[in-house]
Structure formats: structure tokens, C-alpha cells
Amino acid sequence: MEPGSDKAEAAESKDGRAKAAVPVNADAKTFDGKLVDAKSADPQAVRPTIIGPTISQHKFSQMSRRELLKVVPVIALGAFAIPSFQETLLKKGLSFSDWVSARMFRNGHLAPTFADTALTPFEKFPINDYDVDDPGVIFENWTLTVGGAVQKPGDYRLAQIQALPRLRQNTRHVCVEGWDVIGRFGGARLSDFLNMIGADTSARYITVACADDYYESLDMETALHPQTLLCYEMYDRPLTREHGAPLRLSIPTKIGYKQAKYLTHLKVTNVLEKVGYWEDQGYSSFYGL
């Protein structure tokens, strides 16, 4: 309503019904400036009301319609219901969550560790796989093939990894399904291994490939985290086949599916061709805990 309509309002209510047709509150934003600040005529009332200005039915309808229109933008959320937009919008949403997660990650912040009494018994440590529990790795021939932005690429034997300082830690393993267990994992720090192979730690990613054709990637910051392990032991014994022998990733700052088992290849790279098996199905890429 334009300010000019004020005069028309006054003419309509000339019977004097508007007891307080005094435009006091000029900053009322939804009405045409004739609103009266709610100062009580009756001091007893908890909620002072005053019959202030009047408005014609017609103008009231107009105003109501205008106010309704102002709420209509909420329908924009309906884009999520439109099939052609949905996938893109959800992907963008997930990417944003990943971006925030990466900002939240602190290299110096350790995942909680636990006393031995808190450990989940080994028999109760679930085994998940995407293909088979045991891809039939032949331990005598097994090597970790290293490539990418490293000074010393090539095939590394388990003994070389076991020669690095060994760390054993009791950490929580969280599955994306919602369950978690506390396990005891032992191995070499991935950062020590990257040092040994002369990796370019300014590169963005580590990618791994596995004996069961599973594949994963890791941001360099997490790879360098002190609790990220090239793990070859569980509960102070060598990894069993179902749990990823001879070598797996143990990353207490990441969700379970990023902690790949039965590793066969490791690469340092700036380019990700594929992010990871589950990520390529639509799961989060960063998924830091």
C-alpha cells in the first residue's frame, strides 16, 4: 500500500470508530504506516491491545494476499522433489558436508583410545566385505606396490613395513551402518611409511587398491595423522584373513569403509580417478569422524 492511500483510509473511517487514529509507530513494516504501538489503554491487561487503525475489508484481503506471497519462496525447497534436480542437489549437499568435515579435521587432535578392559572381544568384532571375506591372498608372494609421487616406488614386502616403529592402539571402529566396536590394532604409522618411500606429502591424496578389487582414497592430512596406521596386527596377533591380512588401513579418525583391507597397491597422487567403492555408490568422500 502506498503512503498516498492513508488519506483514503481516513475518509473511510470518518464515523470516528478509530479511537486512536494517531500514526505513532512509523517503522511498522507490513502495514501502511498507521500502526499504533501497543501501549495499553487498560493497565490491568497483561497483553495490551488497542483498537487502533481501521482497514477496509478489501484492503485487508489485499494485504493478506501480499503477506501470503511473501511466504511462497519456501516452495523453492520443492526442487528437491523434482527428479531432474534431486541428484545434483543432494550431491552438492553431500559435498558441502564433506567440505565442512575437512575444515573440522585437526591433525593434532587424537581419537579417543581405550583401556584393554573396554575392548570388544575378538570373536565379536564383525567382518564386513563387499565381495568375499577372504580373497585368497598368497602371503609368500605378497607385496605392497607403491607408485605415484614418491622417490622410491616399487614393491615393498611386509617385513619392510614391520621394520618401522610399531604402534598398538585401542580405538573405536565406527561403521556407517551405525554400530561400532573397540578394537586393538597394531602396525606402522602411515606417515613413517610415506617417509620411507620418499612420498611427496604436499600431494593431496593417497589411493589404495585391494586384493578383492576394493579401492579407497585418503586425504593427505589424514594420512599423516599420528594414529593412521598401515595395520598388520589385531589384538597383538597377525591379521587374520577375514580381517584383511596381511595389511589393511586402520584410521580411527575415519569411518569404517575407508579403512581398506587386503591392500595390494598404494599411490601418492593429486588426481583422483575414483574416490572409493562406497563413495562411488553415493556415500560421503571425506567421512572424517
Binding site: 491491545t49 477496509s56 551405525g178 556415500y283
Partner: protein, 231 residues
């Protein structure tokens, strides 16, 4: 500004006659946030329940004892991966809406009409008697009675809790202190689930009240104005 009352008139011969009154109850930011939140909450609960279906238990994985078998038809996302996409996308809309709402209410002073304070304690019993035990209807002087204030104030508290518990579940390492405050990761997950049910209880009660209080009241959350108010 909330609380403004106007009189609706129509021409009658050379004069006007009063057709009714209307009070301005809900400023635009409140209305926008209300509807944004209604949609967001629907998606968060639907996708949250689908996520829950992946491990509908609060105990050990082996052996797994499921708490309840939530039907897939009442869940959003189709599968765990899809549900997480919805949940991790809409949580930002839900969060932003909450922040904008709280910011607006506080900075505009509009919170005063809805915040439950100690002054409202005496109004609780008469309202409970009226709502649940066929007691007399207490006179209404304000936009919200004591029980309404309690409901809407609690709802905000529950919203805040849903975010905090969700954060503890999503980031139990980076926010390990928060998870610790809640009793640990398992408890955080349980609290997150329980807070959802508390919010659903609020929504149920809210919808019943909306239906019982008629069209004019409902319209006030769309246009801001409530025709023929009782006060």
C-alpha cells in the same frame, strides 16, 4: 509488529461498520522459518529413520538385537546411502533455519510473546485442567497461554539438542568432548534417537492444536494476521 490489532470495516451507506478485528501475530521471518522447518524436519526424521534401519539397535553388533523394525515405506532415501545424502544435505537447511529464527526472535524482541518464564508457572495448572480435565477456560490476555509457551520453548530446546546430539554422532572424534558430555558415543546415538521422538511428540500435539483452533488461526502462520482473535 506482533500484537498490533486492527479493525476491519466495510462501507455501510455513508459510514462504515465493523466486520471484525485482526491481530498481527507472526512476522515474516517467523513464518518463513516455520514452514522451512516443517519441511526440513520432515526430511530429517524420514531420512534419519532410514539411517536407523541400517542398524536398528543400541546394543552390540554381535549378536544384533533389533529394537524395532521401522518400515521402509515411512523412510526417506531408499537405502542407507540415499538417506545419508538427504540427512547430510537438509541438516544445513534445518540448522540455518534454526539460527535465523533464534536470531530474529532475540534481536527483534519478538521472543517475549512465546518464551516460557517463571511468570508463566502459575498459568500452567489452569491450562492443564482446561486442556485435559475439562476445566474452565482461563481468560486469555496474551498471544500464547502458559502451556503453549511451554510447548514452543521446549520445542526450540529439543531442536538445539537434536543438533548437538547429531554433531556428537557425526563427529565423535573432532567433538569427542561433546560426545563425552552425553555419556559417550553410544549414549549420543541414543539421545539423538530419543530427542527425535520427543520432537515428534511435540509435532503431534502441535498438529492436534492447530486443527482444533480453526482456519483463522492456521492462516495467521501464512499471512501473519489472525482474524477474530480471542484477546
Amino acid at each position: 509488529m506482533s500484537g498490533t490489532v486492527i479493525e476491519i470495516v466495510r462501507p455501510k451507506g455513508e459510514e462504515t461498520e465493523t466486520v471484525g478485528r485482526a491481530v498481527y501475530e507472526h512476522p515474516l521471518p517467523v513464518r518463513l522459518c516455520h514452514w522451512l522447518n516443517a519441511i526440513s524436519l520432515f526430511v530429517m526424521v524420514g531420512s534419519g529413520l532410514q539411517i536407523f534401519r541400517a542398524f536398528p539397535s543400541f546394543g552390540a553388533k554381535i549378536p544384533q538385537k533389533d529394537l524395532l523394525n521401522w518400515p521402509k515405506s515411512f523412510a526417506i532415501g531408499g537405502w542407507l546411502g540415499g538417506a545419508l545424502q538427504w540427512h547430510l544435505t537438509f541438516m544445513w537447511i534445518y540448522l540455518a533455519t534454526g539460527v535465523i529464527y533464534l536470531g530474529y526472535q532475540i534481536f527483534s524482541g519478538n521472543y517475549r510473546q512465546v518464551l516460557f518464564t517463571h511468570k508463566d508457572l502459575s498459568g500452567v495448572r489452569p491450562m492443564v485442567k482446561h486442556y485435559f480435565f475439562a476445566g474452565p477456560k482461563p481468560p486469555q490476555h496474551e498471544a500464547y497461554n502458559a502451556l503453549q509457551k511451554h510447548a514452543y520453548t521446549s520445542a526450540i530446546g529439543l531442536g538445539v539438542l537434536s543438533v548437538l546430539t547429531g554433531l556428537a554422532v557425526w563427529k565423535p572424534v573432532q567433538f569427542s568432548w561433546l560426545a563425552w558430555l552425553m555419556g559417550g558415543f553410544h549414549w549420543a546415538r541414543l539421545w539423538h534417537f530419543l530427542v527425535m521422538w520427543a520432537i515428534l511428540a511435540f509435532v503431534f500435539g502441535h498438529l492436534v492444536m492447530v486443527i482444533l483452533h480453526g482456519w483463522n488461526n492456521f492462516m495467521s502462520m501464512l499471512t501473519g494476521w489472525k482474524k477474530d482473535p480471542e484477546y
